[in-house]
């Protein structure tokens, strides 16, 4: 009974990959910790958690999307759009702030749903769809905002982005909850299982009476919804709203997912892997910065780590097959 696998494709390999990644992570942390005594402090780590939340919230549904063999590069633009909608509907349409928040989440979900519909109904390949909507959503954000940034939110609004509960950043708690929810959903539910089936063999999934299109729609809509949530957190953290928010988040999120061992071709991958990937990137950036490595050099290191880790993982995989 204990042998029940945790994921679809060759379970042990995935687990193996995550363990290796985790090991690398731990080693890196210890190393960086030795180099700088301010790195491995509760404060710093919690603070990093605060800073990685926005991308993290996006990386979770991105994992779902990539597991189905798709991809969503429009998430960054959706963050921008949602942020603007939030601010605009509050400031210019006079929505009460809570309503504005809900509204922007709704818009996010709708945007994601639009992606999903184009992909499932019109059958435009995901990457093409989302590249096009990337421009579209960003454009809508600029158009709606007319380049005005919205500021001066009430104090309570900042609690999510800057506040803390028992010393833990509020948004980090949200991220943790989201991680558990998404992790369980992917690992334990029929929804998650269907995601894997779609990614491994869409046709067979269809012929197994699985609601392929609905599940894909859900995945992309979720991606939009979480972009909205991410936008909410971001606006609350930086106290202002701009149409260029979330630029480049898509690549950060994808990097985290891929680093976490999710196959870009779909059918395999876990939330836990994504989380490790996410933490790894964030803490590498932070740790390197603290040890005096400049931002530009850090980016280089991230790139190398990304390629190297995937190389190791795949060579391992090949050895086992």
């Amino acid at each position: 009974m204990s042998a029940v696998p945790t994921s679809a494709r060759a379970p042990r390999i995935i687990v193996r990959h995550e363990i290796i990644l985790a090991a690398i992570l731990v080693v890196a942390l210890i190393g960086l910790g030795r180099l700088n005594d301010r790195f491995l402090t509760v404060d710093n780590l919690l603070n990093q958690g605060r800073l990685m939340t926005e991308v993290g919230l996006i990386a979770l549904p991105m994992t779902f999307v990539i597991v189905t063999g798709g991809i969503d590069v429009s998430v960054g633009a959706m963050v921008g759009l949602c942020a603007i909608v939030l601010g605009y509907s509050w400031k210019n349409l006079g929505f009460p702030l809570p309503l504005a928040i809900v509204f922007s989440l709704g818009v996010g979900a709708a945007a994601g749903l639009a992606n999903g519909l184009l992909i499932t109904r019109v059958r435009v390949p995901p990457i093409i769809t989302t590249i096009a909507t990337l421009t579209l959503f960003r454009g809508l954000a600029e158009g709606i905002s007319q380049a005005h940034s919205v500021r001066g939110y009430p104090e309570w609004f900042y609690f999510l982005g800057q506040g803390a509960v028992f010393g833990v950043p509020t948004q980090l708690l949200i991220l943790l909850v989201a991680i558990v929810v998404f992790g369980v959903a992917l690992d334990r539910t029929s929804f998650g299982r269907t995601l894997y089936a779609i990614g491994s063999n869409e046709t067979a999934a269809r012929f197994s009476a699985l609601p392929v299109d609905r599940i894909k729609l859900a995945a992309y809509a979720l991606s939009g919804l979480m972009s909205g949530l991410s936008a909410f957190v971001l606006v609350s953290r930086v106290t202002t709203t701009r149409s260029d928010m979330g630029m480049g988040y898509e690549l950060d999120a994808i990097a985290a997912v891929v680093l976490g061992g999710t196959s870009i071709f779909g059918g395999s991958g876990t939330i836990w892997g994504t989380v490790i990937g996410l933490v790894m990137i964030q803490l590498l950036k932070n740790g390197l910065a603290l040890t005096g490595v400049k931002g530009d050099a850090t980016i280089v290191v991230i790139g190398v780590v990304l390629i190297a880790s995937v190389l190791i993982a795949s060579s391992l995989q090949r050895r086992r097959e």
Partner: protein, 331 residues
């Protein structure tokens, strides 16, 4: 890149030209149509020099899109090209300022481009790492690396001879346009009539089959990346010699512009289909749209939204067309 890897059938007994040209004709029509519409609203748009400027200012995107199309046809993708172009332009410019012979400054980006892309090609083909991952990593390596090295110092007072852009063939055709057209035609012909060119489609369509036909998918893939690097080098050259200043940073988002040109040009991300003529036309169309929006006084705040919508429309048009053609096959 998804489970929809089932081969897309093409129309039975359709003459080859029809199969490969439909998206191209659609684009050509769009380009002319748009020109006419905008011309009616604002005749200045049709002024020869404006049309020329649209081509001139975006030739480098079209050239980069040639290589990108090849990569996509093999079923891969490259998101490092934008950063690479930035790096190559900087290298070329630095050499020019350092007083290297012009020939060298022009060849360097080509060679270096081929080298970098070749490396990525090898990793993708022989180590089996998905191209999107490799190039994503390379993207940040190049972006960060460039700044670490140059500190982002602008490259100024370039020697006049360096400026490819000022050369005009027969005193009429500006160099960039000539290069864009030439590269497109050569690449298209090569992919149409030369065995190795055809092999690209074979690899994208059915790698296993290609292998058993004595076409090595891996070698083809590496070759494609090498060529992609070459075209990236040419693009970088155009990019570098257009202005008197080289920013020596990586133009952000350029990779998406190039990929967009390819897919709008009718290159299927699922591999096996598409032509570089299409991608070049698409690059021109996109540039035309950008310029047109200014001419018809679309609020600058909305330009990106309109662009996105139009791009989406073209892509959907392409997909729908293919689907209808496919439906036509089923009796």
């Amino acid at each position: 890149m998804s489970a929809i890897a089932l081969p897309r059938a093409a129309a039975a007994r359709a003459p080859l030209w029809r199969r490969v040209s439909s998206q191209e004709t659609l684009l050509a029509a769009a380009i002319i149509g748009l020109a006419v519409v905008v011309g009616l609203i604002n005749p200045r748009f049709l002024a020869a020099n404006n049309l020329a400027d649209i081509l001139l200012g975006n030739a480098y995107i079209a050239v980069a899109a040639i290589g990108m199309s090849m990569v996509i046809i093999t079923g891969n993708i490259d998101i490092s090209v934008g950063a690479l172009i930035g790096v190559l332009a900087t290298v070329s410019g630095s050499l020019a300022v350092a007083g290297a012979p012009i020939a060298v400054t022009w060849l360097a980006p080509l060679v270096l481009g081929v080298a970098v892309m070749g490396l990525q090609g090898v990793v993708v083909a022989y180590l089996g790492i998905p191209a999107i991952v490799v190039t994503l990593g390379m993207l940040s390596i190049l972006r960060g690396g460039l700044i670490s090295v140059t500190g982002g110092k602008w490259i100024t007072d370039l020697p006049d001879a360096f400026h490819l852009y000022d050369i005009e063939i027969f005193g009429v055709i500006p160099m960039p346009v000539a290069i864009m057209a030439g590269a497109t035609i050569l690449a298209a012909a090569w992919m149409r009539w030369w065995p190795r060119g055809r092999a690209i489609y074979a690899t994208g369509g059915n790698a296993e089959a290609a292998r058993l036909c004595g076409v090595s998918p891996r070698r083809t893939l590496v070759l494609v990346f090498l060529l992609h690097g070459f075209f990236a080098g040419v693009a970088a050259l155009l990019f570098a010699t257009e202005l008197r200043v080289i920013q020596s940073t990586t133009p952000s988002g350029l990779e998406f512009t190039v990929i967009t040109a390819s897919v709008v040009g009718g290159v299927s991300i699922l591999g096996g289909v598409g032509t570089v003529v299409g991608s070049t036309l698409a690059a021109i169309l996109i540039a035309e749209i950008t310029s047109a929006l200014v001419f018809i006084n679309v609020s600058p705040f909305w330009t990106h939204a309109v662009q996105g919508a139009l791009i989406l429309a073209t892509v959907i048009a392409d997909i729908v067309r293919r689907r209808r053609r496919l439906a036509g096959d089923v009796r």
